[in-house]
Amino acid sequence: MKGCIIVRLEVPGVIQYRDIMLRTLSATCKLITPSARGRSSRASLFSAHLVSAVGEAYNNIALHGYAGCEPGSIKMEIEKGSDWIRVVLEDTGASFDPAQARPPDLDALPESGLGVFIMQSFVDEVTYVPGPPNILTLFKRLDEPREASPNSRRRGPAKSG
């Protein structure tokens, strides 16, 4: 599925630059909402979910991928379709396949280990190619309202060329 790459952003791979990435993404999300009808709750939820997912991915790269070493950069590429957004994050830190993460026991009220679960639950497809560079792709479609599904599909189509 091919769209239009509208954003390429590269920042130092430290946590302080997270806000720049997420604000850019949040603004991009507004481009696929039906402006004639204004910002619907569905569109707001789409943005909330995608920003959350990318935020957690960013955290993992900055705090864990680049832990204990001189951080490289984090590249973000945003591809937009008529009703979907694909976000690709690229880094040169330690590899970690999110599919290997154990689902948290929510009944135990965990205080940590929730990032990957949030990321996977809030998007429709996650793909990961370990590197270097590591390439994480998150795909989300603005579709009919549904509850975020815990541990949604972890593999998806490769990014279109």
Partner: protein, 99 residues
Amino acid sequence: MLFSTSAENGVTVLRIEGELDAVSVTDIRAALNTIAEGKPPRVVVDLSALRLIDSSGVGAIVSLFKAVRAYGGSLATTGVHGQPLAIFRLLRLDRVLIT
């Protein structure tokens, strides 16, 4: 992220504004510890002005919840909406923290 605390009639109110995330959570941890050490019988966390929360922020609130519960107190959040509410619902925290 901005936060403030107030206490009245045995209720401690913690108001958090802006974004509670991996960047800002370190700024609030000392305040959370101070609240728990005071052992107020009831803690209300006002999130009506909170725009964004991530797993780090959730961890901080859950940690406070557990600390308060450990001495027999109660903690609840109010005003949760938008992205934080989506996070709470996913993690089933709405069942525990929202009254």
